[in-house]
């Protein structure tokens, strides 16, 4: 450090970041290797009619859910930020909350309520003799459930932008004689497009990589087919080819979103509007507005939670297997906790390099660590199974392999949170400490680390939160006998014992609450 320029990163940091990036890049590289080895077979698999139908079905579902989520989120975000909607603050919380419910739990609750021998049919069977309900399975069910539990992703990004928009632009448009609707369409909406695009991207990628909800709702999507072909025959090359195709599809979605972003780059918003805009008076329209918010809340929150409570009460009455549930909870917390700690440690050099020494190398390393996050969990999990059975047999069927998968999948959550908090620590503070005689390590310990600690905690909390409810990787990679809450729920649902999944679901939501609370209150002053 004495002779190197301060702009050049310390060698240890670069070595650390590279040491993290290489294993994280392993699944995608290994998948490419597996497919390339049997290229002709892979090519045949890809060009099968069945595969093309799969491609169409998955794309159609992703597009339909994205449109549905935007259609729900756009009016909601406007109502809760810009109008005098009665109870605006309460609605803001209520319409965001469905994000907390993992989509496979949502699907399980929907099936258990509306499926054959579900809650609703049981209620209707006695008095009305109803034997069959319109089927919840298939495209419609998958669309409904995924829309209900992913629209908050769009809501959050759009709401954040809407709150930052400069009201002066709208006032200027009104001053030029535009009506309220015309102003919204010509001034507000174009400025929201990047946020809609970003939120929509999250939804589309979520749908393409979702495994639990589509499987429970028996919709034949890519992820379900990949899992089926792996389970049925250990058909490696078939599963790997489908996985590679799915990854390609996700890159297409990313590319499409990147194009819209470039087009709308002109609409930059001024940082921090000077003052809050006058809320729009809804007048008589507040009744339909309230009805809309209430319907969304009813479907996405009240119904699932009520069903969950109902089954939990049923389950408690039927003397549930408490020791199984508690051991599943312990397993869940163990795996997610290890992933959170190891993920936070691995994220440190990457985040430090990206925040403090931006360079081409840092950008490449950061992008590499993002590959795992962009991949569907089922793809990463299967790739690791192949890798484990062929190359790293001692690791196959161990907790270490599962934790490694979590780190690969979730590292960017930790890197992102950490980098953001490091960027908030001005390099001037570090320089000030240097100028009063402290060496680089002392500065790291006394200034940087304490100030960035919040970001480290947030990163770990995000990893924990996502890992604890993770389903596909856990299902495929967990060692025999290692049952987590998510696999318990999966098993209960697949055999149709709806009440057996209720208490694990409830426990899962309760375990998620503390880290979620930590994350949501952190930014409040």
């Amino acid at each position: 450090m004495t002779t190197a320029a301060l702009r050049r990163p310390p060698r240890g940091l670069v070595v650390g970041a590279v040491a993290v990036a290489i294993p994280v890049a392993l699944p995608l590289a290994y998948l490419a290797y597996v497919v390339a080895q049997d290229a002709s077979l892979a090519w045949d698999t890809i060009w099968r009619d069945q595969t093309l139908r799969l491609l169409l079905r998955s794309s159609a579902l992703a597009a339909a859910v994205t449109l549905g989520a935007v259609a729900v989120a756009l009016p909601l975000s406007w109502l809760v930020t810009r109008t005098d909607l009665p109870g605006r603050r309460v609605w803001t919380v209520l319409v965001t909350l469905p994000l907390v419910i993992p989509s496979y739990i949502g699907a399980y609750l929907m099936v258990s309520a509306l499926g054959p021998h579900g809650l609703v049919q049981d209620l209707l069977a006695e008095p009305f003799g109803v034997q069959r309900l319109p089927s919840i399975y298939g495209f419609f069910g998958a669309w409904l459930v995924l829309t209900l539990f992913t629209y908050p992703l769009v809501l959050l990004t759009v709401r954040a932008t809407l709150a930052r928009l400069d009201p002066q632009l709208e006032e200027a448009a009104r001053g030029m004689g535009r009506s309220g609707w015309s102003t919204y369409r010509t001034v507000v909406l174009p400025q929201l497009m990047p946020a809609i695009g970003a939120g929509g991207l999250l939804v589309a990628l979520y749908v393409l990589s979702d495994f639990g909800a589509v499987s429970i709702l028996r919709f034949d999507s890519f992820t379900r087919a990949i899992y089926a072909s792996y389970r049925a025959s250990f058909d490696r090359i078939g599963a790997a080819s489908l996985a590679a195709l799915l990854v390609a599809l996700m890159f297409v979605v990313l590319w499409l979103e990147g194009r819209t972003r470039r087009r709308f780059a002109y609409y930059r918003t001024a940082p921090g509007a000077a003052r809050r805009p006058q809320p729009v008076r809804l007048g008589r329209w507040r009744w339909p507005a309230l009805a809309f918010c209430a319907t969304v809340t009813l479907l996405a929150l009240v119904v699932p939670v009520s069903v969950l409570v109902y089954w939990s009460l049923q389950s408690v009455a039927g003397d549930p297997n408490w020791s199984e549930i508690s051991s599943a909870a312990v397993d869940s917390v163990t795996a997610a906790g290890l992933a959170a700690v190891i993920g936070a440690v691995c994220a440190m050099p990457v985040a430090m390099l990206a925040a403090r020494y931006p360079s081409r190398l840092a950008a490449v390393i950061e992008r590499v660590t993002f590959t795992g996050y962009a991949l569907p969990h089922i793809v990463v999990a299967l790739t690791l199974v192949f890798f484990g059975t062929r190359v790293a047999l001692p690791l196959y069927q161990t907790l270490a392999m599962l934790v490694f998968a979590f780190v690969v999948l979730l590292l960017p959550l930790a890197v992102g949170a950490m980098r953001a908090s490091l960027l908030q620590v001005s390099p001037r503070l570090e320089e000030a400490a240097r100028s009063v005689g402290r060496g680089p390590l002392a500065v790291l310990r006394t200034i940087t680390a304490p100030l960035a600690a919040g970001g480290v905690a947030a990163g770990a909390a995000l990893v924990f939160l996502t890992a604890v409810k993770e389903l596909p990787a856990t299902l495929v990679l967990a060692p025999i006998g290692f049952e987590t809450l998510s696999t318990e729920i999966w098993t209960a649902t697949s055999v149709g014992f709806y009440e057996r999944g209720a208490i694990p679901s409830l426990v899962l939501l309760l375990i998620s609450a503390p880290p979620l609370y930590l994350l949501t209150t952190r930014h409040q002053p």
Binding site: M1, T2, T3, A5, L6, R7, S426, R428, L429, E431, A432, A433, R434, S435, V436, G437, R438, G439, T446, I447, P450, L451
Partner: protein, 363 residues
């Protein structure tokens, strides 16, 4: 000329042999890609002096300060602090071993420490409570030791930053635009307080500013920077009254430029005849500060010119009056706001202050 020339009032610096040089920069260069931020800069600052690095934005002054502090490494050239080389072809002393205090533009106070904690951090192992109190007393913040930075006003934050930089008793202290984050009203006061604190601490100070008023009123030595070099260094009176070229003259303040003819140690222009450097001959420019030009209605003085007032800008403490001479040349005069001149007034104009003669600029 019977008037004394304030530009030469202050004693000129002594000869090199007897001066105690606290900071010496020789041929310092620093580029960022194709941009040459510092391009062969030479600078010497005497021990105990307050030196202003004055220049427009982008002239490389902050980069130079960071080079002195050790936060950047020069591409070429040498930097010596108190006679010890700290940066050069084969040497680079990291910032923590330079014993140079730094006050950052945004103060860079540690948000997780209170005021006393910020000062104690700078003291390191010697951080006895008495010593912390002593440093806080120096900057007049003895009662605010347990406030946190976000609970302080801008002026107080600036003083904490100063206290923290002075705490390890460095020989030299660097200040990066130290007053730019303060409101105009507060600035003049904090400036004088800062000067007093620096003098009391007996440190050599180098500060960066783009505000000529700040440089002239606070510094003992002003080094005017342009395009990564020092183009002129000297006492404030000297650089203001005897700028070395047209650019420096204009950068330091409003200037009236009149063409003239020089020969044998004097110069003749439309406003009269003045003493000039004997080496100058032929076409020259005569540079006069507007406050050196006075207006009156009194007839009779030999050296006055007839003129008519064109317009007047009123600034409260003074006024800037543009007049037209009989020849049609327009000249600006700055004076106290009384008497108030009005467009059309017939006035007499006299040069009552120093003039500066430079070789004529190419037009």
């Amino acid at each position: 000329m019977t008037l004394t020339d304030p530009a030469t009032d202050r004693a000129a610096p002594g000869s090199t042999a007897e001066r105690d040089i606290a900071l010496r920069c020789t041929g310092v260069r620093k580029s960022y890609g194709p941009v040459r931020a510092v391009d062969g800069l030479d600078l010497e600052v005497e021990a105990g002096a307050i030196c202003a690095l004055l220049g427009p934005s982008g002239c490389g002054k902050t980069t130079m300060l960071r080079l002195i502090g050790g936060f950047e490494r020069p591409d070429a050239g040498e930097i010596e602090i108190a006679g010890i080389p700290v940066a050069g072809a084969r040497t680079f002393v990291p910032p923590q071993r330079r014993r140079v205090g730094m006050v950052f533009q945004d103060y860079a106070l540690f948000p997780h420490f209170d005021v006393a904690g910020n000062v104690a951090y700078a003291l390191g192992r010697e951080a006895a409570p008495e010593r912390v109190a002593e440093v806080l007393r120096l900057v007049g913040l003895e009662n605010l030791g347990n406030r946190y930075p976000n609970e302080l006003s801008g002026g107080q934050q600036q003083r904490v930053a100063l206290a923290r930089a002075l705490a390890p008793t460095p020989k030299t202290i660097l200040l990066d635009e130290p007053f730019s984050n303060l409101d105009a009203g507060l600035r003049a006061r904090v400036r004088q307080e800062t000067r007093e604190i620096l003098l009391k601490a007996g440190v050599t100070a180098v500060f960066v500013t783009h505000d000529q008023e700040e440089a002239l009123s606070l510094a003992d030595v002003v080094a005017v920077m342009r395009d990564g070099r020092v183009v002129q260094a000297g006492t404030p009176e000297h650089v203001y009254g005897r700028p070395s070229d047209h650019w420096v003259a204009r950068f330091l303040g409003d200037t009236v430029v009149l063409p003239g003819e020089a020969h044998d140690g004097s110069v003749t222009c439309e406003l009269g005849r003045f003493a000039a450097d004997a080496s100058l001959a032929g076409r020259v420019d005569v540079l006069i500060r507007p406050e050196s030009i006075s207006l009156s209605t009194m007839p009779g003085r030999q050296d006055t010119q007839e003129a008519v007032v064109l317009h007047r800008e009123f600034y409260g403490h003074d006024q800037l009056v543009t007049v037209r001479l009989e020849s049609g040349t327009e000249v600006r005069s700055r004076s106290i706001a009384f008497p108030a001149w009005h467009p059309g007034d017939q006035v007499r104009l006299a040069v009552d202050g120093p003039v500066n003669v430079l070789q004529a600029a190419l037009r």
